[in-house]
């Protein structure tokens, strides 16, 4: 009996003295913290879904109102943007005299684009081409494809060169050939040398004759 009691008490004491693992509290709190963060991320969706399920009509009306406001904001912005432009056009066109040749249909056509610009359903700026002719022209110029620039006019020297090439004779044109110029220079140099060589020879002959005459006159 004593052994059985001891064994039973030993088991119960082992269960009583069980120690929690080290860091169990930290691990539990970390797990709870991660669950809390995940719950915050998913919580608002669940709450919204539950509230919508409770009052679906009210939330549908709220959603429709929100959509209407969102659609009305761009129209209001466009109206605010075009209102001063329209008044400026009116003041500028007011002092001009009416064109007598313009028919009623043309005048209606001319005024129609102004009405179009007031429409809030045309937010694209390309639609403004028909509204303002000046602006349409500017838009066409801006959108036109690029072309290469025209050639610059010739300078005076270039014009003279062109004239020279087209009017002179072949002999004159050949004068600008460097080989011809070199041959001509060589010829002139040869004539120069020949002239001065002959001149020096004549001078030497004269000097020699004068020396001989002086020698004869002396006893």
């Amino acid at each position: 009996m004593k052994d059985s009691d001891q064994a039973m008490e030993k088991v119960l004491a082992g269960l009583r003295d069980a120690k929690a693992p080290m860091g169990m509290e930290r691990r539990i709190l970390e797990g709870l913290q991660s669950r809390t963060a995940a719950g915050v991320r998913q919580g608002w969706l669940t709450r919204l879904a539950s509230r919508i399920a409770v009052r679906p009509i009210a939330y549908a009306a709220l959603l429709a109102g929100g959509m209407a406001i969102i659609l009305a904001i761009p129209a209001a912005i466009q109206l605010l943007q075009h209102a001063p432009v329209q008044s400026a056009q009116e003041t500028r066109s007011a002092p001009l005299p009416p064109v007598p040749s313009m028919t009623a249909a043309e005048s209606v056509e001319f005024q129609r684009p102004a009405i179009v610009t007031r429409s809030p359903r045309r937010p694209k700026p390309r639609k403004l081409e028909a509204a303002d002719p000046e602006e349409a022209l500017a838009m066409r110029e801006m959108n036109a494809p690029s072309r290469p620039a025209p050639p610059l006019p010739l300078t005076e020297q270039e014009k003279a060169l062109v004239r020279f090439v087209r009017t002179r004779t072949p002999e004159e044109l050949a004068a600008i050939d460097p080989a011809k110029w070199a041959a001509q220079d060589e010829q002139q140099r040869a004539e120069f040398d020949r002239f001065f060589r002959r001149f020096t020879k004549e001078q030497a002959d004269k000097k020699k004759l004068a020396q001989e005459a002086m020698n004869k006159s002396w006893p």
Binding site: A7, V11, L15, I28, L32
Partner: protein, 185 residues
């Protein structure tokens, strides 16, 4: 607001101030008790820790109704107790009991007698599991010693006198069975 190891969780940060509960303080106060409650059923430290974790997750899930809880200690012990019982049905407790018996024998007797002691402790654990459910539950909860009879009665949903009677019968029955086993050996 108290904090444990730098972690401080306030449930009221998400909900109304009425349901404000300092979860870190709850973990600090009751985690050891809940661990022993779960360990008495499972006889495994890792499984018991998982049960404690699950118990506090339940607290987190029921944070809105925490103000209605009259006795937080009993409520937490009941959660851990039920979670441990549920977990024991899904695992193989025989292996856990063998490991627990070997560990307990190694801590109490010399190494040359540890094998016999482990077998003896294993036999006691098996006889405990063979006890009727009510008696076994009362015996396991009484092993914790931190729980009074009133608290055990609240956890098990019985009266105090019933708990006392169950505890007496459990001890008596277990002693008789152990003695019969010793005689057979």
């Amino acid at each position: 607001m108290a904090s444990v190891g730098g972690y401080s969780l306030a449930l009221a940060s998400m909900e109304s101030a009425r349901s404000e509960v300092d979860l870190a303080a709850l973990v600090e106060t009751y985690s050891s008790l809940l661990f022993r409650v779960a360990h008495s059923v499972l006889r495994s430290r890792t499984e018991a820790e998982d049960v404690v974790q699950d118990a506090f997750v339940r607290v987190l899930e029921h944070r809105r109704s925490l103000s209605e809880v009259r006795d937080m200690r009993v409520w937490l012990v009941r959660i851990a107790w039920n979670l441990a019982l549920d977990r024991r049905r899904r695992i193989r407790p025989e292996q856990l009991d063998e490991v627990f018996a070997e560990t307990l024998a190694a801590n109490t007797v010399p190494a040359d007698k540890a094998l016999d002691e482990a077998q003896h402790i294993g036999h006691v654990l098996r006889e405990m599991e063979r006890l009727p459910k009510g008696e076994r539950y009362v015996l396991l909860l009484s092993a914790i010693e931190e729980l009074e009879t009133v608290e055990m009665a609240a956890v098990l949903g019985r009266s105090e006198s019933a708990v006392r009677a169950l505890l007496f019968r459990a001890r008596t029955r277990l002693r008789e069975r152990l003695e019969k086993g010793e005689i057979r050996r």
